[in-house]
Symmetry: C2
Subunit: 486 residues, 2 copies
C-alpha cells in the first residue's frame, strides 16, 4: 500500500468522527431535546479531542510526511495540503491556549447573550478583551508574513491576507456613491409584502416546491426548520438544510431556503472519487458563500426568478403579487443597522466595518473599549445611520463571542464572487430564459463542472482562477449594482 | 488518580462514540435521507471499529486489570464486570469470525427480505445455515459450562442459561390449558375497533397527550414516527422513542407508544452518578423488556387504564368507546401466526417455539432444512394453527438474519418479569386508583428506586432478587392470566 493510500485509510477514522459530529450539529439545532445540550457538549468535546489525537499522532504525522513525498497528482497534493493546514492549527497552537479559548468562549457566549439582551456592552467587554488577547497569541503561534490578522484570515480563507482584504474593500468603496444615487433616485425602500402574514405550513410547502424546481435531491437531502438557517454536510450523500418561518415577510423564509440550497449543492457536488478524503467538501468559507449568494442574489433576486415564482406565491400563499411586485420586494434598498437584514447594496458595508474593526483590534490600533463608538461612527459614515443602542450595533453578531475573528470578510468574498460567477456563467448560458422557465439543470452542471467537483483539491485562489480565469474582483460587484439598480 | 478513575476517563471516548452511534441509529430510522444508507453504514462501521480498538488496546486492558484489583464498592465492581463482558466478546471471538459474521448477515438480511416477500424459505436457507455455523463457532470461542446455547443467551441476558430457559418455558406450558379455557369460555376474540380508521395527526396528538400523563420528560425526550417502534437511549439526558401509525386499529399505535415509554423510562432512570460510565443503561434485554411490558401489559391493558383513556379516545379520535369496550379491545385473545400481533396469553408460545428451535439448531439436533416443518408443527401444537406459508411462519422475524440467536427468550423473560413487578408493586401502591386517576409519579418512582437507578451495577438475576426478593417465576405469569382472563 502506498503512503497516500495508507494515509487515507487512517483518515477514515477522522472522517467518521467528523461525520458523527456533523450529524450531532444538525440534530442539536433541529430535533434534540433542549435539556440534553450539556450532555451533547460533552460528547462532542470528547469526539473532537479523539479526532485531534488521531490527527496529531506520530503515526499520522509520519504518514502525512511520507504521502507528501509520494504525492503525484493534484488530488494527492491537495490531500496533503489540506491535512497540513489542519495539523498546523493543532500542532502550532499550544493545547493550553486552545483549552483556554474554549473555556473563555463558552462563558463569552452566555455573557454576549446577556449583554445583547440588556444592550449593555460592558457585560461583554471583559470577555471580548480576553478573546482578542487569545486571538493575537494564536496569530503569533500560527505565524504570518506581514500582518498578524493574516494568520486568522487564513483559517477561514486559505491564502487570503490583509493585502487582499484591503484591495477588496477599497474596491467596494465606490458603492457609497452608488448607494447615494440609488436612494436619491427613488428606488423602493419599502413594500407592503414585508408586513403581509403567511401560513407557515403553506410557506414550507412553497419552499419544498421551489427546492424541487431548483433540483434538490430528496434522496440525499432534506429541509428542516431551525432558529437560524444553516446547511450541514453530514456526508457527501447526506446534506441537510434548514430555514426559518416568521409568519410574515415571506421573502425571508424563501431567500434563506434558496441561500442554503446553494450551500448544499456545493456540498453535494464534490466528485465521488474524493468521497471520505480530506479534500471532499467546500474549500473555504468565501467560496462556500459564493455558492449560496449566487443562488440567493444572482438567481432568486433576478427578474426572471420573480416571474417564475409569482404564480407559486399565488398558489401557495394566496398572495396576489405580480413578477414586478416580487422583484421590487426582493430588491428593496434600505440602510439598516442589522447585517442579516441588509440588502445587496448595503451588505458589504456591514462587512467592511467589521473587517476594519477586527483588523484594528488584532494589530492593536483599536481597543475593545473603543469598539461601540468606533462601530457607530463607521455605521454613520458608510450607511448614514446610527444604531439606537449597542444591541443593534456592536453586539448584534454572535461571531466574536465564539472566537471567530477573520471570519466576516468571507461574507464579502462570497458576495462578490457570486456576481463574478454569474457574469461568467452568462457567457455560456442564457440565464434569464433558463431561470424563468425553471430549467436549472444546466446551471447546476456548470457550477459542478467548474467549482463543486474539485472539493478542496485546489486552494481557493487557484480554484477561482481555474474556474473563472480571473481573480476576486470587487469592480465586478460594483458594476453589477450599477446596472441592476438603475 | 486511582485505576477506576483513570479507566473511566479513558472510557469517556468509548461513551462518546457509543453516543454518536446511538444518534446515528435513531436518525437512520427517522429522518435520514434514504440514499445515504450506504454512507451511514461506512461511518458506523468505522466508529464501531474505533470503539473496539480503544476497548481492546493494551492501555485499556491494563486499566481494567488494575481497576479490578482496586474496585471497592458495588458500582466499581459493576463497572469492571460490564467491561469484562464487553472485552470477552471482542477478545475471545477471532476478528475474522466477526468480520465473516458481518459479511454474511449483511447478505442474509437482503436474502431474508427477498425470501419473505416470495414466501420461499429456500432463498434464505443457505444464509441461515452459515449463520448457525458461525453462531456455533462463536459459542465455542466464548465458552460455556453445560450447553453451547448458554454462551449465546448470555450475550443478551447475562447469566441466563438453557437450564433457566427450560425452567421458564416449562413453567409457562400450563398456559396451553388456560388458552383452551379462555377460547372456549367465549372471551372476545375480535372487536370492531380493530377495523375502525383514525386520523393520524389526531392519533399522534393522543399519543403525546398520553405520554404527558405518563410522565414523559419533554426536556430530555421526544416521540417520532418510524417503520417499527423503538427506543434509543442516546445519552442519559436524551432518550427518544418512536411509534407507528396504520390509519386504523388505534390500539397498535397507542400500546406501542406506551411500550416504548417503558423502555425510555428505564433509560432515563439511571442514577446520574453513573452517567458516562459503562454501567449507565439497562442491564439486559430481559429486564429492559420487563419495563416496556410492565407499562404496556400491566398498566395499559388494565381496567383502570381503560377508564383513564376512554374520554381521551373520544376527545382525540372522536370514537365513542366505553372503558369496557376499550378493555375488551385491548385484551382480545386470538391465536395468530404472527408474533408481533400476539396477545398476552398467546405471546409466550411464539417465544417458546423459537427458543426450542434455536436451541436445537445450536446443539445440532435440528437442521436448518427441517425448520419450516418443525415451525409449523410447533405452531399447531401450541396455538392450534398452521401458517399459510413460510412468510407468516419461519420467515416472519428479522432476528436470525441479523445473527441474533439467543435473543428471543429475553422477550418472555420481560413479559413474565413485568407481571412479577406489577404484583410486587401492588404490595406498596394502590395501582387501580393511581392509574385510573392518571397519577403515575409514584409508579415511576417505585421503578426508579427498585430497578432503574441501578443501571447495570448488578447482573440481572441479582438485580431482580434485590428489587423483588424473588427470582424469575413463570407461575406468577400463569396466575396473572388465570385471574385476568376469567
Amino acid at each position: 500500500m502506498g503512503a497516500v493510500e495508507e494515509l487515507l485509510k487512517e483518515y477514515e477514522k477522522v472522517w467518521a468522527i467528523g461525520y458523527s459530529l456533523a450529524l450531532m450539529g444538525w440534530d442539536s439545532e433541529t430535533y434534540m431535546p433542549e435539556g440534553s445540550a450539556r450532555e451533547r457538549g460533552e460528547a462532542s468535546a470528547a469526539l473532537v479531542a479523539l479526532k485531534q489525537s488521531i490527527l496529531t499522532s506520530e503515526k499520522f504525522l509520519d504518514l502525512v510526511e511520507r504521502a507528501e513525498e509520494e504525492a503525484s497528482d493534484d488530488v494527492e497534493r491537495g490531500i496533503v495540503r489540506v491535512l497540513r493546514r489542519a495539523l498546523k492549527y493543532y500542532t502550532r497552537i499550544p493545547v493550553e491556549l486552545l483549552r483556554e479559548e474554549e473555556r473563555v468562549t463558552n462563558e463569552a457566549k452566555i455573557a454576549w447573550r446577556k449583554a445583547k439582551k440588556r444592550a449593555d456592552f460592558g457585560t461583554f467587554r471583559p470577555y471580548l478583551e480576553r478573546i482578542v488577547e487569545i486571538k493575537r497569541e494564536e496569530a503569533e503561534h500560527l505565524g504570518y508574513e506581514n500582518h498578524p490578522y493574516d494568520a486568522l484570515l487564513d483559517l477561514y480563507e486559505e491564502g487570503f491576507t490583509v493585502k487582499d482584504a484591503d484591495r477588496l474593500f477599497s474596491g467596494l468603496k465606490p458603492l457609497t456613491k452608488e448607494l447615494e444615487r440609488i436612494l436619491s433616485s427613488g428606488w423602493p425602500q419599502e413594500h407592503p409584502l414585508e408586513e403581509t402574514p403567511y401560513d407557515a405550513v403553506r410557506m414550507r410547502e412553497l419552499n419544498e416546491r421551489i427546492l424541487d424546481i431548483l433540483g434538490f435531491e430528496r434522496e440525499y437531502q432534506r429541509l428542516d426548520t431551525s432558529a437560524h438557517p444553516f446547511t450541514e454536510g453530514i456526508g457527501l450523500y447526506d446534506v441537510r438544510i434548514t430555514t426559518w418561518y416568521h409568519g410574515k415577510d415571506f421573502r425571508r423564509s424563501l431567500l434563506a431556503t434558496v441561500h442554503e440550497f446553494g450551500h448544499s449543492l456545493y456540498e453535494r457536488g464534490c466528485d465521488p472519487s474524493l468521497w471520505k478524503t480530506p479534500v471532499c467538501g467546500g474549500v473555504s468559507l468565501g467560496v462556500h458563500e459564493s455558492q449560496s449568494r449566487f443562488w440567493e442574489n444572482y438567481i432568486a433576486r433576478s427578474r426572471a426568478f420573480s416571474s417564475l415564482v409569482a404564480p407559486l406565491v399565488r398558489e401557495y400563499l394566496n398572495l396576489d403579487a405580480s413578477p414586478d411586485d416580487i422583484f421590487t420586494y426582493f430588491n428593496l434598498v434600505r440602510p439598516s443597522t442589522i447585517r442579516v437584514e441588509a440588502d445587496e447594496v448595503t451588505y458589504n458595508f456591514h462587512i467592511m466595518l467589521r473587517y476594519e474593526l477586527e483588523k484594528g483590534l488584532i494589530e492593536g490600533s483599536i481597543e475593545v473599549k473603543e469598539l461601540p463608538q468606533a462601530w457607530n461612527e463607521k455605521m454613520e459614515e458608510y450607511l448614514g445611520i446610527t444604531p439606537p443602542n449597542d444591541a443593534e450595533g456592536v453586539l448584534q453578531d454572535i461571531h466574536w463571542s465564539l472566537g471567530a475573528m477573520g471570519y466576516f470578510p468571507t461574507y464579502s468574498i462570497g458576495t462578490v464572487l457570486a456576481v463574478q460567477i454569474g457574469r461568467k456563467m452568462e457567457e455560456d448560458l442564457d440565464l434569464p430564459s433558463l431561470v424563468s422557465e425553471g430549467k436549472f439543470s444546466p446551471i447546476r452542471e456548470w457550477l459542478r463542472e467548474k467549482i463543486h467537483r474539485w472539493g478542496s483539491v485546489y486552494p481557493p485562489k487557484e480554484l477561482v482562477r481555474r474556474a473563472l480565469g480571473e481573480d476576486l474582483d470587487p469592480k465586478a460587484f460594483v458594476d453589477y449594482v450599477k446596472v441592476k439598480y438603475r
